[in-house]
């Protein structure tokens, strides 16, 4: 049978891929922006809406980073409000396991699932760093090697809490006077290296049993964690070769946990530019890249890798002659990307070679190396490419990240989605009422 394409909408956040300087760009904070994007996604019969979170404003050279969008709303609160203005769309939120407690998070997700009629999903992330910890009671106390342990134990604890209620524990029998079927509904005890908790979980079992669990880490540890426990992976491998390699790898890991390939969906984040023709789309895509990477932004990117002040550097000239400063990054705080550069000196060498070979300025080089758009073309091209990728097991679908708020998904939904529907690979109506129904995931037994 032809694989169906899963689609989701990512509300674009604080990265430089979000274009705020365009006249079409609206508020990142006003609720209307969220309503527009979510309702557009639902019109396109998307599986879910995805919202990331931030817990500390980013800094560079000890100053708050001011070139990209700054500020976001609270994840849970926005998703709950969106439940009021949508009826089928899944509501997925990133929530950190380091600066939260299981009972609070489990109750918030159970609440979101109840109030949305079974549409809640949790993207579990481990943590950032001590820098972020300065905003919390726990501070930066957690050593790096314990973060995955805490995440795993946190998720196990949450599952224990959701499972502490049976589906039929709420009787609400007014005649006999029994609201609960048994006095020990919700009773639990959970002890581990990070937690020692017990009592009665206050919230009855939600419609999905448990919310859908997403995992986002890309390390070997993260992939194992996903294979063992997650329903879906939010990956960053949207290109053909990298996507296929990642897909094969994580699906292979499932067997060790007694799970089947269809029990874990691989959904990379993907960007796109749709034009009238392929040529026009390519032109548009280049303009968008110029909006995303200004001269100042290019210098700031360079500083994150070089780990030193380069404010005097000319973005329209060649790359700096000096080498990056190795070791702990003291320039950029609150960014995941700085940790991806495991060997900055080697990366700098690659970049210099590339710049020389293609005769690129600093800004042009940064535009070249910092993620071009995943899908660029006419509606026909974009639809067929996405479908080809899914049929070739690059992914089970894509989480689309528009570069403009709130209208960045309009054209995709109006012009690309109908083609996917004609191809018979995207739904024309929702299969069921819960997110698990629409993702084809089983409801966990209570």
């Amino acid at each position: 049978m032809t694989k169906q394409v899963h689609l989701a909408a990512h509300f674009p956040g604080v990265n430089n891929t979000t274009v705020w300087s365009d006249p079409e760009s609206g508020s990142q904070i006003e609720f209307d922006s969220f309503v527009h994007l979510a309702q557009t996604a639902e019109r396109g019969k998307f599986d879910f809406f995805f919202l990331a979170e931030g817990l500390r404003l980013r800094e560079q050279n000890g100053l708050i980073y001011d070139l990209d969008v700054v500020g976001r709303p609270d994840t849970f609160t926005v998703l709950s409000a969106l439940a009021a203005v949508t009826t089928h769309l899944g509501l997925t939120g990133t929530i950190n396991s380091t600066f939260n407690e299981p009972v609070d998070v489990a109750r918030q997700f159970a609440t979101l699932d109840h109030l949305s009629g079974g549409r809640a999903a949790w993207n579990v992330v481990t943590s950032w760093d001590e820098f972020t910890g300065e905003n919390f009671r726990r501070g930066g106390y957690l050593p790096e090697d314990q973060r995955y342990a805490r995440a795993e134990e946190f998720l196990t604890a949450a599952a224990t809490l959701w499972d502490s209620w049976r589906d039929d524990d709420v009787l609400a029998d007014t005649a006999s006077g029994h609201f609960l079927a048994r006095p020990d509904a919700g009773e639990f005890e959970f002890t581990s290296t990070q937690f020692d908790i017990r009592g009665h979980f206050p919230t009855p079992r939600p419609p999905q049993g448990r919310p859908v669990i997403f995992q986002a880490g890309d390390s070997d540890e993260g992939r194992e964690f996903a294979a063992a426990t997650a329903d879906a992976i939010f990956s960053r491998h949207a290109t053909y070769d990298a996507g296929r390699a990642f897909y094969t790898d994580v699906k292979r890991r499932l067997a060790a946990y007694g799970r089947h390939p269809e029990q874990l969906l691989v959904l990379p984040a993907a960007t796109f530019v749709v034009g009238d023709t392929d040529a026009q789309a390519a032109e548009l895509a280049h303009e968008v890249r110029l909006q995303q990477v200004s001269g100042q932004t290019a210098i700031k990117f360079l500083e994150q890798l070089w780990n030193r002040d380069l404010s005097d550097h000319d973005p329209d000239g060649p790359l700096p002659q000096v080498d990056p400063v190795p070791g702990e990054n003291t320039v950029a705080k609150g960014r995941a990307s700085v940790r991806m550069h495991r060997d900055p000196v080697a990366v700098a060498r690659e970049w210099r070679d590339l710049a020389e070979a293609k005769n690129l300025t600093t800004r042009e080089l940064i535009i070249e190396v910092t993620g071009r758009q995943s899908f660029v073309g006419s509606p026909q091209t974009v639809a067929h490419t996405i479908n080809d990728f899914v049929q070739a097991d690059v992914a089970d679908g894509f989480i689309l990240v528009p570069h403009i708020v709130p209208g960045g998904l309009d054209r995709f939904v109006d012009e690309v989605v109908p083609i996917l529907q004609e191809l018979g690979v995207h739904r024309t109506d929702y299969e069921g009422t819960t997110l698990r129904d629409n993702l084809g995931l089983a409801r966990p037994a209570g």
């Binding site: 609160t77 600066f99 109840h114 009629g117 919390f136 009592g199 919230t203 100042q296």
Partner: protein, 390 residues
């Protein structure tokens, strides 16, 4: 013209009486659904009530486990947010448990509720020394010691201070979108709060820009003398539970003293609402019969934490006038014994009676919760160079 009074309603499950879930129309099997709450909020808004408070606790049982009490166990902040787009005017005040939650998370959640509701958000800060509730978190234990209560109140005060500072940590015009210089935000208008207290420290700034009301309304409940100090020092709104008029006068004084001792610059002083449990019916005897029936359903007589009113709509209007005649009391927060029945009588009969007496508004006159309460939008402490003033 006599001054208008404020009337709010506290929503706690099927009602404030533990037998309420067995009453006709209670629909207790739908307590965890959005539709259930949407209907209640529509009723409260149709009755022009200033705001609703939504109860919250991490405890499933008060005391030993039992099967005859109804629970929904929902997070009230998420519930308020789910209801915000379905309402237009009514204030939404959920509860946050300061003892067990993170002020940074609560600050951004309430700021976001303020965005989602276009300026109708508040929060009741709750403290709890319940050892069962603490065991759900496993971080702290509560010895049987009176000093604990005072310490929790002081922590709640720090909590109120921090969420207020975080709301001010962005000046109103911090987002500049200056295409010429490439700057989205003016970092000089973002401020570290650098709060360090006995229980937590928070660096800031907030992740969420300053909300529409500047600062959403902070409320606290004055069950103990220490709570009255929290109201006086850190809240915009206080719920007090006097049994007699003299108690109310004393509570007003205690709050006022705490307020002037603190020399605070926030809304001056906190508005006080008297908590009132209400069982209503067309006649006094019918109301008493309803209360008896609720007690029978609960299996035991129920004593509320506040003063109780059992009687007719006109009688309740008299009672509201009596409490609000106390200098320093702005309104009442009614705790309907059983929803929807008592809520229905409040909106369809008590409110019209107060309107006939020219003691209650005929329509919502302000778009924000602060507006309903007659509170000004606070200026930003950092912008005004008064960062040290809590």
């Amino acid at each position: 013209m006599a001054e208008h009074v404020h009337v709010a309603v506290a929503l706690d499950g099927a009602g404030s009486h533990p037998g309420a879930w067995r009453a006709p129309g209670a629909q207790a099997h739908t307590l965890t659904t959005a539709a259930h709450w949407q209907e209640r909020l529509a009723e409260a808004e149709a009755g022009l009530l200033d705001f609703v408070t939504l109860a919250d606790s991490f405890a499933l049982h008060r005391g030993h486990p039992r099967t005859d009490r109804a629970t929904a166990g929902l997070d009230s902040v998420l519930l308020a947010s789910r209801l915000a787009p379905t309402t237009r005017s009514i204030g939404l005040i959920p509860t946050a448990t300061a003892t067990h939650t993170e002020p940074f998370h609560v600050s951004k959640a309430i700021a976001t509720l303020d965005y989602v509701s276009n300026g109708r958000a508040g929060v009741v800060l709750r403290t709890t020394a319940d050892p069962d509730e603490a065991a759900l978190f496993g971080r702290r234990r509560f010895p049987d010691d009176p000093a604990v209560l005072a310490d929790l109140a002081s922590e709640a005060l720090d909590f109120a201070t921090v969420i207020g500072l975080l709301w001010d940590s962005w000046e109103d015009d911090a987002e500049i979108r200056d295409v010429a210089t490439g700057r989205f935000v003016d970092r000089d208008k973002l401020h570290y709060i650098d709060f360090a207290g006995d229980h937590f420290s928070v660096r800031g700034p907030a992740i969420t820009p300053r909300p529409p009301q500047g600062r959403p309304v902070i409320a606290a409940t004055g069950a103990h003398p220490t709570d009255l100090r929290v109201i006086g020092r850190g809240a915009d709104l206080g719920f007090i539970n006097p049994r007699e008029v003299d108690d109310a006068v004393r509570a007003v004084d205690a709050v006022g003293t705490a307020h002037s001792d603190a020399g605070r610059g926030i809304a001056d002083p906190a508005l006080l609402f008297v908590d009132l449990f209400a069982v209503l019916a067309a006649s006094e005897s019918a109301a008493r019969a309803r209360r008896a029936q609720l007690d029978e359903w609960a299996g035991e007589p129920f004593t509320p934490d506040s003063a109780a009113f059992v009687g007719t709509p006109a009688g309740l209007a008299d009672e509201i006038e009596r409490w609000t005649a106390v200098d320093g009391v702005s309104g009442v927060r009614l705790h309907p014994a059983a929803v929807p029945e008592d809520l229905h009588v409040i909106t369809r009969e008590v409110v019209p009676e107060l309107q006939r007496r020219n003691r209650f508004h005929d329509s919502y006159t302000a778009p924000t919760l602060r507006g309903h309460l007659g509170l000004a939008r606070p200026s930003n402490r950092f912008a005004a160079g008064k960062a040290g003033v809590a």
